[in-house]
């Protein structure tokens, strides 16, 4: 049977507020950031529409369809507003 991946997740801005934490390690069977986001959105009440959410894996922007590996640091990026 497949083993869950251990993922390190950081939260920023509105996601941090909704999750009520800055960071956590979780075990997940999610194959991609998109699947992971949907799980977390269900758990924490993140925006259900993931189309405006981007993802960083190990400090690089990646596609929401990238394969997740155990040990990855995953950070979801809600719409930005610098400046």
């Amino acid at each position: 049977m497949e083993k869950p991946k251990v993922l390190n997740i950081h939260y920023y801005a509105m996601l941090r507020e909704k999750a009520g934490k800055r960071e956590e390690d979780i075990e997940s069977f999610a194959a991609t950031p998109l699947e992971l986001y949907k799980d977390l959105a269900g758990e924490y009440g993140f925006p259900s529409d993931s189309r405006s959410i981007r993802v960083s894996i190990n400090e690089e922007f990646q596609s929401m369809d990238t394969a997740l590996c155990s040990g990855d640091c995953v950070i979801f990026i809600p719409p930005v507003a610098g400046g």
């Binding site: 920023y12 509105m14 719409p79 610098g82 400046g83």
Partner: protein
Amino acid sequence: MFTISDVSIDTDLLTKELINSRAGAFVCFEGRVRNHNDGEEVTSLEYEVYEELALKEALRIVEEAKEKFSVLELAGVHRQGHLVIGDIAVWIGVIAEHRGSAFDACRYMIDEIKHRLPIWKKEHYINKEPKWVQCSEHHGT
């Protein structure tokens, strides 16, 4: 050169560090906290930055600007933390031999920074709950 700062931006120092004797043109942009946005009276702003990725992406933007435009040097700083009206949230400075490329590069930098850096802004209002604003709904400074 790009940094994320927890403290007030010293534009004078940044300018002095940037200028050299080949530079005929210096263009800078400052984005400041306004007292209003989208019809609401704003009292302060909180900037939250995913620092590692913001710095990587900012340096990419600096390199792109150097490739696209004929400039001598570019620099920028973005604040994080709680800012009040009039505080400088972002500063971009460009030196070039000629003014056209200095203007173009400065504008490119700020446009890309606003859209690409993982930086979030929470607006605090006089009579309303604070709100995380987006680039698209915020019409931009």
